[in-house]
């Protein structure tokens, strides 16, 4: 039986010459267990203008992978290869890492003094693993302010190394900032698939959230803290949670920004308030459990 042909659609772009990227198609007959690096070398023999870094993070059929580890056979007969981040591409499959380092360096190893920022891949242990986690994150993709799973994992490690109460509190204040910290993780766990360390980024983010509630005054303006407290309060009071009441509590008068959506929901009879939402029965039990758990 002849070997099956695999069609590779490869992203091509030169930031110095091109305005828009394009895709070029190449056909190969892989022998069996080749890595993406091997396939890209074979493509390079056909088209020497293609540039890529070996053992680097790329996207294969939209999945973020390491080119030296990912196998051609796992991606079917039509494979689309793109850079890790097409918005930050330098040339073809080579991505600029400035943004990665910027977000990584936003978490300082010491809180008081100036230190040299990290700008090279080999200065970071497990760089490829972390880069995979970083480029897998949808929140990183759409929110330039977000520290990202790598920076937040770093913050957790540094938080754990601190013993001083106020330094710990200061760390938590940083990761609780609105629009950039732990509460802006979309909770999809994409980062975990890349990281092989014992504690995954999503678990570290979760632990930072838990730690936040061990302190009284981390950040009174944090939408995430307000939302969590309100959800718990409503479960104790009603058993169920009203979106409107939660938004009102979290955003205050800024709820007016959502007025259009609320009007639409109300018009289509898709809207209740705390009085309207169904109450669970035996709610005293929830209070008993909480009291019991706290004791």
């Amino acid at each position: 039986m002849g070997l099956k042909e695999v069609v590779f659609k490869v992203f091509r772009f030169d930031s110095e010459k091109d305005i828009l990227p394009c895709y070029k198609t190449y056909t190969l007959k892989p022998k069996g267990n080749e890595s993406l690096d091997t396939a890209l070398e074979q493509i390079q023999e056909i088209d020497e203008t293609l540039l890529f870094d070996k053992d680097s993070v790329i996207k294969v059929n939209k999945e973020v992978v390491l080119s030296s580890e990912a196998k051609v056979k796992d991606f079917g007969l039509e494979i689309c290869i793109e850079p890790a981040d097409s918005k930050r591409v330098k040339r073809d499959l080579i991505t600029e890492y400035d943004d990665f380092f910027e977000r990584f360096n936003s978490i300082k190893p010491t809180l008081c003094s100036e230190i040299k920022e990290i700008t090279e891949k080999d200065e970071i242990t497990n760089f490829n693993e972390l880069a995979q986690a970083y480029f897998s994150c949808p929140s990183v993709d759409v929110n330039p302010e977000f520290i990202g799973p790598v920076g937040l994992s770093r913050a957790y490690d540094l938080y754990n190394q601190e013993s001083d109460y106020f330094k710990k509190l200061k760390r938590l204040k940083v990761v609780n900032e609105n629009n950039r910290g732990i509460w802006d993780c979309a909770g999809c766990n994409s980062c975990d698939r890349a990281v092989k360390s014992e504690i995954s980024p999503s678990v570290k983010i979760q632990k930072l959230k838990n730690e936040t509630f061990e302190y009284d005054d981390v950040n009174n303006c944090s939408y995430g803290i307000k939302e969590t407290k309100e959800v718990e309060k409503q479960i104790i009071a009603n058993g169920h949670v009203s979106s409107f009441c939660t938004i009102l509590k979290v955003k205050g008068f800024k709820v007016l920004e959502d007025a259009k959506e609320f009007c639409l929901l109300a018009k289509n009879k898709r809207f209740t308030n705390s009085k309207g939402i169904e109450k669970s029965q035996n709610l005293k039990e929830i209070k008993t459990l909480i009291k019991s758990a706290r004791s």
């Binding site: 969590t228 955003k251 039990e285």
Partner: protein, 277 residues
Amino acid sequence: MKNLKYALFKGSRALDNAPETLKSTLRVASVLDIEFVDVNEFTCSGESHLEDKNEFLAILINARNIAYAEKEGLDIVTLSNVDFKTLKECKAKLDINSNLKTRINEHLKKINLQYSGKSQIISLCEVFVKFGLDKIKAKSSKDLSELAIAPYYGENTPKNANDTLDKVANCFNSTIIESELKNYPCGSNITIRNKTLATKLTGKILTDIVDNSANSILVACSHQYLNLDALQCSSAKAVGRDDINIPVFYLSQYIGLTLGIEPKELGLNQNIAEVSI
């Protein structure tokens, strides 16, 4: 075959601003003779929020929920992936860790409940598959071949269930539109605290679906349904598009239509993106 009977975990979204998900599910169940028992003691699973504050408390509250289903001798069916994931993870933690289970049961004893681990957590998709898509098709009276539908699964769908919506749509002759972002998060868990981010995520999904020429979306989660439908206008705006207006079907609404149930009885008149079928 014995009728299917489950404890229905409605969840806060279905009781709040996605009531069509509950309405359509109950209406379809009445036609298929699937019995959903209303367990009035169920509370919100807390989604990820309770766990964010205190993992033990989150397990305790959901162990109570599961214990009530066990009392009825029933498995739990959820209407959202978030509740499914929260309850399933709670169950997994308790079933794998006997010390944790003992500790939780010490607290539950104070309210005369016990968690044993007998009740399973099931998604609504699984219920229809278990009932038999062929049997539903045998009862169907409406052809939905005019729909070019994009199944959207989100990030919390287990890998082994990542094609069930495709199977449903295929069964009723709708054209399936494959979206590369079918497992991309829609940001439902961050919508309240960061709407800008959530609408950008939802906007990316909607753009991909519309650009692939779909004329409708199929989801099996009340949270996803809410974001893709109710936030459609602001999500389109967040990604710089003004041409997105696509109906979103919750799974029970879609199946209900094939069964010939009136759109109004399925709550389709309450959808924000207008459905004309």
